[in-house]
Point group: C2
Chain length 462, copies 2
């Protein structure tokens, strides 16, 4: 990636946050020959060794942003989350609570299977490391903890860092995650939209050797993705590390408030998980026994209670988790962040082209691009935040515990399938075309002195 010195009409973009979405966006802008620099608060790449999965649709977005990103995903060893048979690429839901057969205590009632996501899983840190290889030297500045973003009268945006330094850019994109400082700078410290809220669900994660897991689950279940659902909780597992280990995550509903919003993790134990799942199916309890004695309790936070009223303000914009941090129940948070990166890459590519047109104001073009981003991305991404909460509530239905209500409980899968397909069957190429058309329409409206609602009859937006 070349760090160009911008000419007078060529935009220079600052990205805040060198997470997966921030780095993918930087690669996308560089491919559009846009000058870009990433500012990261940590001393190095901050991703942890946890797993992450990208749908076929998210991988198509990567391809469109820059084929080198797909290549990085392959290099870091991404594999299917279910077994290798491509025709068996399903997520499956199974009764984790009720015991159905006295003659076969291992039997669990299959509930639903939904296929077609094309998920490929990898480790976050390994993927980010591969991505970073394609960033030009100096393209990322580490140790830059953002304090505020200020839009100046000269048309520049100034980033002020905690170390006393500052940097100017023509536009700033916050990819700085669930605790985004760019978001807080947009909405103010007194606005609830600046802070993520507790979803009243917690997660416990652990890795179990696959041979031990097979003793509990049997061969077939152990090698394939399953959600075990029941009242107030679910347990999800899938094979990782080339089918040598099972990734196990237990999700519990929690009516209590989270003790400390400044720290989204707390100490936990296997015993408290087992106690919460008292009376569940022996297979689920058998898996819990294989977890380590000491666990981390992850409080699940999102932006669902106080969603961002908009993703843009003038030359400042937020994307990825900074804009729409979600609970993890669709496994799609990062996938939608990659869609964001594609949308912004395309739009800023348009801005760069417009910047060479005589008489075009860079500020007008950047504002039109970010308005377009907001209108293209906010409905879908805020829907995802709601939908992730919704499907978790459906997995945790109290009806699973009452045989008279099983028929009702099972009607949820038609909705869960629709929601999954909406995520997985997203048409990235169509988004690109629509974004360009919408950008041009808005830019024309601005030239003619109209605001953003120019094409919205009677003020309705949808």
């Amino acid at each position: 990636m070349a760090i160009n010195v911008p000419g007078p009409a060529e935009p220079h973009i600052a990205i805040v946050g060198a997470g997966i979405v921030g780095v993918i966006l930087a690669l996308g802008l560089a491919r559009q020959k846009i000058s870009v620099r990433v500012y990261e608060q940590a001393a190095g790449f901050r991703e942890i060794g946890a797993g992450i999965a990208f749908s076929a649709c998210a991988r198509r977005c990567m391809e469109l942003v820059d084929p080198g990103i797909s290549e990085a995903l392959r290099r870091c060893g991404a594999v299917s989350v279910s077994d290798e048979d491509q025709e068996d690429d399903y997520l499956r839901w199974i009764d984790g609570y009720n015991q159905h057969r006295a003659d076969d205590p291992t039997y669990q009632r299959p509930l639903a299977q939904i296929g077609g996501a094309g998920f490929r899983g990898c480790r976050r840190d390994q993927f980010l490391e591969e991505l970073a290889k394609d960033v030009a030297p100096g393209g990322i500045e580490f140790g830059k903890r953002l304090e505020t973003v200020e839009q100046k009268e000269d048309g520049k945006v100034c980033l002020v860092f905690a170390d006393g330094t500052s940097a100017d850019a023509d536009a700033v994109i916050g990819c700085d995650g669930v605790k985004s400082r760019v978001r807080r700078s947009l909405f103010g410290a007194d606005n609830e939209a600046s802070y993520a809220q507790y979803t009243h669900k917690v997660a416990y994660r652990g890795l179990v050797p696959l041979d031990r897991a097979i003793e509990v689950l049997g061969e077939w279940k152990a090698h394939n993705f399953h959600h075990h659902v029941g009242p107030g909780a679910h347990l999800t597992h899938y094979p990782v590390a080339n089918h040598t280990a099972l990734n196990v995550v237990v999700f519990l509903s929690d009516p209590e408030p989270w003790p400390d919003h400044s720290n989204m993790v707390a100490e936990g134990t296997r015993d408290e998980v087992a106690a919460a799942l008292g009376g569940w199916h022996p297979t689920v309890l058998g898996l819990v026994k294989l977890l380590p004695e000491k666990l981390v309790t992850w409080g699940l936070f999102d932006l669902g209670e106080f969603p961002a009223p908009k993703y843009n303000d003038g030359r400042v914009c937020i994307a990825g988790d900074a804009a729409h941090a979600s609970s993890p129940h669709h496994g799609a948070g990062a996938c939608l962040g990659v869609e964001d990166a594609l949308c912004l890459s395309v739009l800023l590519g348009q801005v760069r082209a417009a910047a060479t047109a005589p008489g075009e104001s860079l500020g007008t073009a950047l504002a039109a691009a970010f308005e377009t981003f907001d209108s293209m991305r906010r409905p879908r991404t805020q829907w995802l935040v709601n939908s992730s909460r919704r499907v978790c509530d459906l997995y945790h239905q109290s009806e699973w515990a009452d045989q008279r209500r099983w028929t009702k409980a099972e009607t949820c899968f038609e909705e869960i399938r629709d929601r999954s397909y909406k995520i997985w069957h997203f048409d990235a190429d169509d988004m690109v075309q629509q974004s360009v058309a919408e950008y041009k329409k808005r830019l024309l409206g601005k030239r003619n002195g109209f605001g953003r609602d120019v094409n919205e009859k009677h003020g309705y937006r949808l």
Copy 2:
């Protein structure tokens, strides 16, 4: 419609209930040259003078069942629910609670518009009257109140009526509505699935002269479909009677139990509606003032709490409201009943063709047809029942009353649009093709001695 005397291998079908779905199904079976008779408990057609609307997709189903049905809809004067401009065929949501402008108390914030249903509205009784003109004389027997349905060992099904008479048929389809006796006969009087449950919403309906409504709403709103939403209630209006009257329906959330499940209506008053909407926008209160002083309170019941575990048992089947009575919030209950009628017409047309094949058992073919109907129709129709409840809950969100929560409240429209499109963009022709293919697969499975789950790997159904 000819009442054929069935030959030894030609099926004779009994339909219970001469409502809109039952009569459409009878016309569809007659068009497939199937012998059919309808039994209706009332002394004549039982539909009331209330309005009903059919989407473009439901009208495509009518066309496929029998082009004469579309013709009957046109003859009874069905018109668009919004104004005549086809490009303005929208449902609209508007803030019915908050007062936004001191300088303009009539201003209401537009929230969303969703178009493309192609709804055409008419009066139920007038449509049914037109449909009945195409039924052969004697094709409907009135005054036949069903007591039970008995599947006999000789392969016939016996309908036993309250007047002491009975009738035999090769198969029975219950189109006998929300209080279906056929459903109760399938599941038993002690099963909750035999009874509709209160959805904890009530409706009050009234007609208002359009000129009076225009004084309150203004010209444009009065001529176009609007939902006014707010905490715990919504008010829906659209023009009827060639734009001379406004149909107004107020829906209220009601935490209390319904007093008497044997009677779904109760006495109500305009004053209780006005009291429930205390503090709402003056436009909504102004419309309520135009309602008659005495109203009927309609308790909204559905099959959502205890949905039918299946729609078929051997040679008996349920369809329309008898299978999936829904609250009215999608305006799609009858539309999905028409889809059912198309599916059953096609499947029984297949049965009739198979009945002429040597060695084919009529009972096997009928069971395969009804199993196919269940698998094709149950997920979508039970989804509708849930979805109708869900969208009403979204209209009634408490968040509308708290300005800090408006952004969250408004994120609901992406979901409402998805749900509306799922209903409106249904591919009737594809359902026909899939139904035939599925029927043939199941019939083959039965010939080879397999049960209904033959193609379901690991027992998963979806």
